[in-house]
Symmetry: C2
Subunit: 131 residues, 2 copies
DNA sequence: ATATCTGTTATATTTGTAGTATAACACAAA
DNA sequence: TTTGTGTTATACTACAAATATAACAGATAT
């Protein structure tokens, strides 16, 4: 999987990494049990420090999106992803609320907002598949 | 308007302030031209430094959500809010994308996600009105 | 066995942001 | 002239992000 980083972004590198891996799993480009690069090789590839990658992996592990074996390396969680937990539901709503509020402030209708969401949703879940 | 801050949150205070003022405007609790507390009085009220409030106000001014007069103080922008600009559209999508990706990863259907969004949207735009 | 490749842990350092603490300036109203 | 605005400047502490090395622990290949 190709990782694209924006070093000028105010989003931390480890967060950008997490987001891209999450989107990779969500889109199906990364499948259950599939291997991810080692912390060192990925760090080397994208030109960042080992610890930056390690932080992203550690957080993804905490959320049970990936598994880490001491010698086998890092793999997408083979048992599948966790579902909609109460904790995630709270996190999700606290992430959405400010975005929705600002959109309302700018006069964006519910219908338009839902359409934007739907567009992004389908864009992520229906990637160009080289079948 | 009552401001509620979470000093334990990893969201910066000035961001929490911005979010609450934005939601206040979005909900109609804060109306066009309505006065906001001075930087000093608000800072004193919520127990933070003058500069923290000033930073929130400065950013809200940059987005044209409020107006700042040197002596009259701070008011909600009297000319109304800016609409859906291209810049905001990009910002909005970059905020939504990671949330949507993670929800897809956790198996949340488009319909369920849209329902969550709709719930938050109506919750913000239909506050308890003491008419 | 012994290199080698994993993740992991431990320090230390640099850089930038968040937040605080004072102080002063510019301007306008009382 | 005093007072209350926003504004600006400076300095400081605290913390997070990121880097730089180094070493440790475990498993695999040679």
């Amino acid at each position: 999987m190709i990782i694209q980083l924006d070093m000028q972004s105010d989003t931390p590198i480890y967060t950008q990494l997490m987001n891209q891996i999450i989107e990779g799993i969500a889109s199906g480009k990364l499948k259950r049990g599939e291997s991810l690069p080692s912390v060192r090789s990925l760090a080397s590839d994208i030109g960042v420090n080992l610890h930056t990658v390690n932080k992203a992996y550690t957080l993804l592990k905490q959320e049970e999106y990936i598994q880490v074996h001491r010698q086998k390396g890092v793999v997408v969680h083979p048992d599948g992803m966790p579902g909609l937990t109460p904790e995630y539901s709270i996190k999700q709503q606290s992430q959405l609320r400010p975005v929705i509020a600002e959109s309302i402030l700018r006069g964006i209708s519910l219908e338009d907002f839902l359409q934007t969401v739907e567009h992004i949703y389908t864009d992520i879940s229906s990637p160009e598949r080289g079948l």
